[in-house]
């Protein structure tokens, strides 16, 4: 009779060792440099890859178990949301604009991050790094999927959700996140880690996710809250990976410091520009406000970011070069963005609007030094134009920044009455920028940024040749439904009618 012998159970530590360190064999058919061709050219010197510590030491079996559990919960709630007409529980249909921007601009960024980490999982020679990057890659793809699934419920009822993939590729305001990720993906592996792993995930992600998910909760959007929770535990891991990576680079060789500092300067500024639209969402698009962009910046930027850079000072790292200019822009940028979105709203696949008197009161309380002085008079004039039957549409179209690709809506750091305009010449061509930060990034690597696909420029070239109608069908924007003022939109009418049906006997 055979005896049943209990299999020896591996400890977690042993499992992780098998998963990682034992995969790090030395190559014999090809040299190490041939197998990992992209780890040298950025100038980062690494002497001992085994010094890379993955603080989570997550193994595959536990990873699958946690993620599967989260998926089950997530889809149960999404199903319930769909069956119970969860879309009618949101505070107001204006809230949907924030979701449309998120789906068109941010979810594709999750997918791009997934592609990037998959590549980094291949290109870093250290096995600890490889495994951590591969898991983050799977996480990012999962985030893109859960976001698309959660928001597909809204697509059944409302305009502007139907063509987010075309928007990602072609829509003018989506080239901002797209160029951000393309810039990172076309950099070397170390710069990518500083760009996405550190600057975006560690320094700035709280400014995106915390206000966005609280905003969803405040405005009755359980679908979005659910994907937020599902992603949150992953984010903690990603933030740690970004921080570990930067410490690893700095500890390996003192010559790495100036390179890393340069990337921090660059990617803080690019990330800050990218997240500016979150401020607009918080200050203007949430019918029930959570906190102002200024308040969020004070917590997640000034306090948390300040503490982080004090901590990194022992490696010789100083706060990013654009930090002071960022601070000077905080009380202005959400207003500048919303005014721009409103005047170009014939070309957006979401609605914008003039804030109500109540909302302007709130804005003036939250921005006592800037709103009444600079921005209320503009909104008041826009209301007057609208009341006269001649709502303002800016057909001059927008001048874009060559680096961040955002319309150059920002003002001089020390003069809010003057648009900040910078220009330079490279190989006989003129290039324009929204800020010193973006100009510095360009001048550091001009060959990269001269090939920017600037959507306003493209609109006037073949095949569109300046035809706005042809452009709309090319970006899958349905005029009169997806675009324009919220006031009088189909979304406004439908939401009001359906809510009426759901809450009365009429």
């Amino acid at each position: 009779m055979d005896m049943q012998v209990a299999k020896k159970k591996l400890s977690l530590k042993e499992k992780y060792k098998l998963l990682t360190r034992d995969l790090g064999w030395d190559t014999t058919y090809h040299t190490k440099d041939e197998v990992f061709p992209y780890v040298q050219y950025e100038g980062i010197k690494i002497h001992d890859w085994d010094k890379w510590e993955d603080p989570f030491r997550l193994t595959m079996d536990s990873y699958w178990k946690y993620q599967a559990e989260k998926e089950r919960k997530f889809y149960a709630i999404i199903d319930a949301h769909a069956q119970n007409n969860g879309h009618l529980n949101i505070t107001d249909a204006r809230y949907l604009s924030a979701l449309k921007i998120f789906l068109q601009a941010i979810s594709p960024g999750e997918y791009a991050a997934g592609k990037g980490f998959a590549r980094m999982g291949r290109e870093f020679p250290g096995v600890g790094t490889q495994v951590a990057c591969q898991m983050q890659s799977i996480d990012e793809i999962r985030h893109a999927q859960t976001q698309i699934h959660a928001l597909s419920n809204y697509n059944k009822f409302y305009n502007g959700f139907h063509a987010f993939a075309d928007a990602r590729d072609r829509m003018w305001y989506c080239t901002l996140p797209r160029s951000f990720f393309d810039d990172a993906l076309s950099a070397g592996p170390f710069e990518f880690m500083i760009a996405i792993g550190f600057s975006f995930e560690y320094v700035l992600t709280n400014l995106l996710f915390v206000p966005f998910m609280s905003g969803a909760a405040y405005n009755g959007d359980m679908a979005t809250v659910t994907f937020g929770f599902s992603a949150q535990s992953d984010e903690a891991r990603h933030m740690t990976l970004g921080l570990e990576c930067i410490k690893f680079m700095l500890e390996q060789d003192p010559a790495n410091l100036p390179i890393v500092q340069g990337w921090i300067d660059k990617w803080f500024w690019r990330g800050f520009r990218l997240l500016g639209v979150v401020g607009t969402m918080m200050d203007y698009m949430l019918p029930k406000r959570v906190m102002s962009w200024r308040e969020a910046w004070n917590i997640y930027g000034v306090e948390n970011g300040g503490a982080l850079f004090r901590d990194l000072a022992r490696y010789g790292i100083r706060p990013p070069k654009g930090w002071d200019d960022a601070e000077k822009g905080i009380d202005h940028m959400s207003h500048q963005f919303m005014l721009a979105l409103y005047q170009y709203n014939f070309g957006t696949a979401f609605h914008s609007w003039i804030p109500s008197e109540d909302e302007m009161e709130w804005l003036s309380k939250k921005y006592p030094d800037t709103f009444d002085k600079y921005y209320r008079p503009r909104w008041a004039h826009l209301s007057k134009l609208k009341a006269a039957g001649t709502p303002f549409a800016n057909m001059g179209l927008a001048k874009l920044c060559q680096t961040c690709q955002i319309p150059t809506v920002f003002t001089e750091p020390d003069d809010p009455t003057s648009l900040c305009q910078r220009e330079t010449e490279y190989k006989g061509e003129k290039y324009h920028f929204c800020s010193d930060g973006c100009q510095h990034i360009f001048e550091n690597e001009p060959e990269k940024y001269i090939q920017a696909w600037l959507p306003m420029q493209q609109l006037f070239q073949a095949p569109i040749n300046g035809d706005l109608g042809a452009w709309m069908s090319w970006v899958s924007l349905i005029p009169g439904k997806d675009n324009g003022d919220f006031d009088g939109s189909e979304d406004e009418r439908n939401f009001a009618a359906w809510r009426q049906q759901a809450t009365s006997n009429q």
Binding site: G396, T417, Y431, E445, P446, E447, I450, Q457
Partner: protein
Amino acid sequence: MALTSTKPYVAVPRDLVENFNGKQIVYVCWDHHMLFATPLLLVVEPEMSFGDLLENVVKPLIGPDPDAAAVDLGSVEWQKAGRAWKPDLAASLAANGIVHKEQLRFRTPGVNSLLAAA
């Protein structure tokens, strides 16, 4: 270094003037008139006279500003590429030295209804 790369790399700009079917880009900014979110992006023929550009392109676009009616574009102060500049209204954009993606700014000191507080 023009690019951190594994080997020499030369890029081609995506918005060269030859891509615009005989036209060019001109940016025009009305300083301190912040109703317009960015400088106006105009795509026009280089043979167009500067006076035509002002009368037929710029003037209709700045109409929504409350000061537009009070401004004579023929006599405002101009800057080109950041330096003071006097245009020749009768001459073409090309003869005025306005190249592709040129940034022009004009000022109307004292006329600014929407920034009264500033």
